[in-house]
């Protein structure tokens, strides 16, 4: 096995990154891109949280407020969580399955490089004379079609490019997992992270074409006089919502299932115990992914749906809670009777469990149609969906701390990591927990100004958001410091960590496994 770069001719400087077909370089680019976008979209959320510090206009106009919430949502989903998860897949799937690289390296390069261009197009609308996209990340027709600003066409093009990028990345990941596993790694011996990404890739392949179709119909409505979503032309605005949420709900699982995989790797490592109920964990994820395609209308309970479909989608949504509960209990059972230590990755994994539990519980509340009549479109829903999404973000941070020593061969500062964890987990709850109450008390979402009775809790939320934003600077500093002058990391920095990736030196060699490994180095071995 060769060491990093020795005997391989690859270009230096910018060309290395532009031309690279190496899964590690591409993984790094995905993660760095996600980190940059995290600060961009996070900055946008601070702009509107500060506007919401007081009921009246504070410093931005309602129009700009709408533009900010739209870009915040789109970037956080497509520019932060998805690329970060793709970066983890690129870095970790080949070493975890004993492969030299991804199956389709050139495709891999292209699927990454589509992203910076896609977001440059979306963000360039900021410097154009008309308004930026201003219809929320859900871009409901006709607000985004007949009534959309001119920049909507840029937005549509961005979505097309993002969809293409995701489809190619998903294809690559699925093909790699199917074809490039070490001989002894049968399906039911794959690490759960790999299983999770395999399932995620299949979801992506199913939903992204649907979204692409939806935005193409928008493009036709806006520019070629069709009327797919225009009631006046015989079209149907609700059709848009069906298409959007048929993509949109499984998309939630695209964001959170890789996080499930990460947690299933980290909790056993720091409990020094094999994952409890491996088979059930895999089956539960498959069932969640499948059911995820049957619940999209729970986002549309107030559109005037007939009672029969409301009941069906209420029950199917509630059923998802069962496999999700199974996963949660199995993670708990993994920790139970383990031998726990609380390094930063484990802290973030526990943070994931806590935050995901709260999000799951409010999810069940939202599934009940009658209660949902009061929750829908209010801050309760904002609070609800930020919990699972932030749990995904925390899982990604856990993954970064967990595998960073393996990636760059250096150790991060544990003290700073712990500070980052505590500041993040507290500020996340200070920001989003009060929003449940604001919503229940009657404040609609996506409003720049609000009635006076919601002031106190909005101020608490804004303070939480500012702390959350600032504490991420600590994360950034810790990362840079680790890469520049962290201490040398051993081959296996976590004594409980098992699996093929830990048999490689830190940092990993440029070509991961040039020969397929004989043993799997799991808990049984």
């Amino acid at each position: 096995m060769s060491h990093a770069g020795v005997g391989h001719h690859h270009p230096k400087g910018i060309k290395r990154w532009l031309y690279t077909t190496n899964h590690k370089d591409i993984g790094t680019m995905y993660l760095v891109f996600a980190l940059i976008m995290f600060f961009v979209a996070g900055g946008m959320s601070l702009i509107f949280r500060i506007e919401l510090f007081r009921p009246e206009h504070v410093f931005i106009q309602p129009q700009f407020y709408n533009e900010m919430i739209t870009m915040h949502g789109i970037i956080m989903i497509f520019g932060v969580v998805m690329p970060a998860a793709a970066g983890l897949a690129n870095w970790m799937i080949p070493p975890m399955i004993g492969a030299p690289d991804m199956a389709l390296p050139r495709l891999n390069n292209w699927s990454f490089w589509l992203l910076p261009f896609a977001f440059s197009i979306a963000l360039s609308t900021m410097f154009m004379s008309g308004p930026m996209p201003d219809f929320g990340w859900t871009f409901y027709a006709p607000l985004s079609t007949t009534f959309g600003p001119k920049s909507t066409d840029f937005f549509i093009f961005t979505i097309h490019m993002l969809g293409l990028s995701s489809i190619l990345a998903a294809l690559n990941i699925a093909v790699t997992i199917i074809n490039m596993r070490a001989p002894k790694m049968t399906w039911m011996k794959m690490p759960v992270f790999v299983w999770s990404w395999f399932i995620t890739a299949l979801i992506l392949l199913a939903i992204m074409p649907v979204l692409a179709g939806g935005v193409t119909m928008m493009l036709m409505d806006r520019n070629f006089h069709t009327a797919f979503f225009e009631a006046a032309g015989g079209g149907d605005p609700i059709l848009f919502q069906h298409i959007f949420w048929f993509f949109g709900h499984p998309e939630v699982y695209v964001l959170v299932v890789p996080a499930f995989g990460v947690i299933s790797e980290i909790i056993p490592a720091f409990s020094r115990k094999k994952l409890f109920g491996y088979h059930m964990m895999v089956y539960a994820t498959i069932i969640i992914a499948f059911l995820g395609f049957l619940v999209w209308m729970h986002h549309m309970f107030t559109t005037g749906a007939p009672i029969e479909s409301q009941l069906f989608f209420m029950y199917s949504t509630m059923v998802i809670a069962v496999p999700t509960g199974v996963k949660l209990f199995n993670w708990m059972a993994t920790m139970h009777k383990g031998s726990l230590s609380f390094e930063t990755p484990m802290l973030f994994a526990i943070g994931f469990l806590v935050i995901f539990t709260i999000g799951g519980v409010t999810g069940i509340m939202c599934a009940l149609v009658p209660s949902d009549y009061q929750y829908r479109g209010s801050y309760f829903v904002v609070a609800h969906f930020h919990y699972p999404l932030l749990s995904a973000v925390m899982a990604i941070m856990a993954a970064v701390y967990f595998w960073l020593p393996k990636w760059c061969g250096k150790m991060y500062s544990e003290a700073m990591g712990k500070w980052h964890f505590w500041l993040t987990v507290i500020s996340v709850n200070v920001t989003f927990f009060p929003q449940h109450f604001i919503g229940l008390a009657g404040m609609p979402r996506r409003v720049p100004d609000y009635p006076l009775q919601f002031t106190d809790l909005n101020q608490v939320s804004t303070i939480g958001a500012i702390v959350m934003g600032l504490s991420q600077l600590l994360f950034l500093y810790n990362l840079i410091r680790t890469v520049k002058r962290g201490k040398e990391a051993p081959q296996r920095p976590w004594d409980g960590a098992k699996g093929l990736e830990w048999t490689l030196p830190s940092p990993m060699p440029y070509h991961t496994f040039e020969e397929a490994p004989d043993e799997l180095h799991g808990y049984e071995d």
């Binding site: 129009q63 007949t146 009631a231 009941l311 920790m335 726990l340 539990t357 069940i364 009549y373 996506r446």
Partner: protein
């Protein structure tokens, strides 16, 4: 890094303070939870049978959630205390157990069934919209509501009544800031009222938490829902679906009155000349003077136009064009009348022919052609600066004829 380490040391020295702070924060959280159960921070019980049902379902779901999450969090704390590597815990070797898997599959299913039964019952009740006593058609506009009493023949727009000065931080906000309208929806208590909800432009959502009613207003669809208010009072809500720039500025105010008072209110709308019953466009008997037009125009402008075009006429370009020296306000009169009467498709500029009377339209156009120095520009170019209601009526009759 040194700076960071010394900061940590510094904080450690004050760990006692930190403990006190933690206790204080804990007390605050407890206070917050206690508050949550009181009505102020919770979903309102409301004043209709449906809203009561929803409230009870919400509380059942809430407590089920509290029980589940408390169980998980307590188990977690137990694990963190009991199985620490630093205390020499030795990992167990049970990695699979079908029994517990079945237990934690079946118990959640039972809890879900407990929630599904009342949810289904209330949902069936919500969908029972048989035999209403009266019907109100609710139409969403960017950014106001239109109410049409189908049985009484009353139709009016309900605009935000909060002043731009309060919104722009020039005056302290009043108690009903952003929750007040010029004409509330007046409804009788104790009667089953059917709402037919639709939209004129984009999707809105008509939400009054106290009534337990939230229904999307969708162009091309008429959604049906109903309410039966039990208590006299004023109930306020807001639009709950992002509908453009001023989504947060189109509140809903429902004034529930006794059936007798409702009858009186209806009768008044039919008799009073400035009541809310729509009439065919006709010019007032005596044409208004220029100063009367300007006074009325300023009021109409403030209520209907200033949100977008701003009180100073400068607008909020590029979304909302200014009117100062604009091609419309200082161009040919024909174009100006046309855009006010018919609006501009795909924008928030609506067809005001159905919202304002001919006198009001004439007044607002006169005001826009004279205010902010537009008068000089118009005079220089030889464009008229004065429009009478009769001109507007003439134009409308011409158009309906053709």
């Amino acid at each position: 890094m040194l700076g960071f380490a010394s900061a940590v040391c510094y904080l450690r020295r004050f760990s006692k303070r930190l403990c006190q702070l933690a206790i204080f924060i804990g007390a605050l959280c407890w206070q917050a939870l206690a508050q949550a159960f009181s009505s102020y921070w919770n979903m309102p019980r409301g004043v209709t049978p449906v809203s009561h049902g929803i409230y009870h379902l919400h509380m059942v779901a809430f407590w089920v959630g509290v029980v589940i999450s408390s169980f998980i969090f307590l188990w977690m704390i137990w694990i963190f205390v009991r199985y620490r590597h630093s205390k020499g815990a030795i990992p167990g070797n049970v990695h699979e157990h079908m029994g517990v898997e079945i237990v934690w599959t079946v118990i959640p299913i039972i809890l879900l069934v407990i929630l599904a039964i009342p949810a289904t019952k209330i949902l069936i009740k919500i969908h029972d919209d048989e035999k209403p006593a009266m019907s109100v058609k609710v139409t969403g506009y960017q950014w106001k509501w239109n109410y049409e009493y189908l049985d009484q023949g009353i139709r009016f727009f309900s605009n935000l009544a909060t002043s731009q000065a309060e919104i722009n931080n020039e005056r302290p906000p009043g108690p009903n800031y952003l929750l007040e309208v010029d004409h509330p929806l007046v409804l009788p208590v104790g009667e089953k009222i059917r709402f037919l909800i639709t939209s004129n432009d984009v999707i809105h959502d008509w939400w009054v938490p106290d009534l337990g009613v939230k229904q999307d207003a969708i162009p091309g669809y008429v959604n049906e829902t109903w309410t039966k208010i039990e208590k006299v009072g004023t109930y306020r809500g807001e639009c709950a679906e992002l509908c453009g720039t001023y989504h947060g500025f189109m509140p809903i105010v429902v004034k529930a009155v006794s059936p007798a008072a409702f009858k009186q209110w209806v009768a008044k709308q039919k008799t009073v000349s400035n009541g809310l019953t729509p009439t065919k466009p006709k010019a007032p008997a005596k044409p208004m003077t220029e100063s009367e037009l300007l006074t009325l125009g300023k009021t109409v402008y403030g209520k209907n136009c200033a949100v977008c075009h701003q009180t100073n006429g400068k607008g909020l370009p590029p979304t909302f064009p200014g009117l100062v020296a604009s091609p419309i306000a200082t161009g040919a009169l024909e174009g100006h009348i046309n855009i006010v009467l018919h609006g501009k498709k795909g924008t928030a500029m609506q067809a005001f022919s159905e919202q304002l009377s001919p006198s009001e339209i004439a007044a607002v156009i006169t005001y826009e052609r004279q205010a902010w120095g537009n008068a000089e520009l118009n005079k220089k170019a030889g464009h008229p600066v004065l429009v009478h209601a009769a001109d507007i009526v003439k134009k409308e009759i011409e158009e309906s004829g053709s």
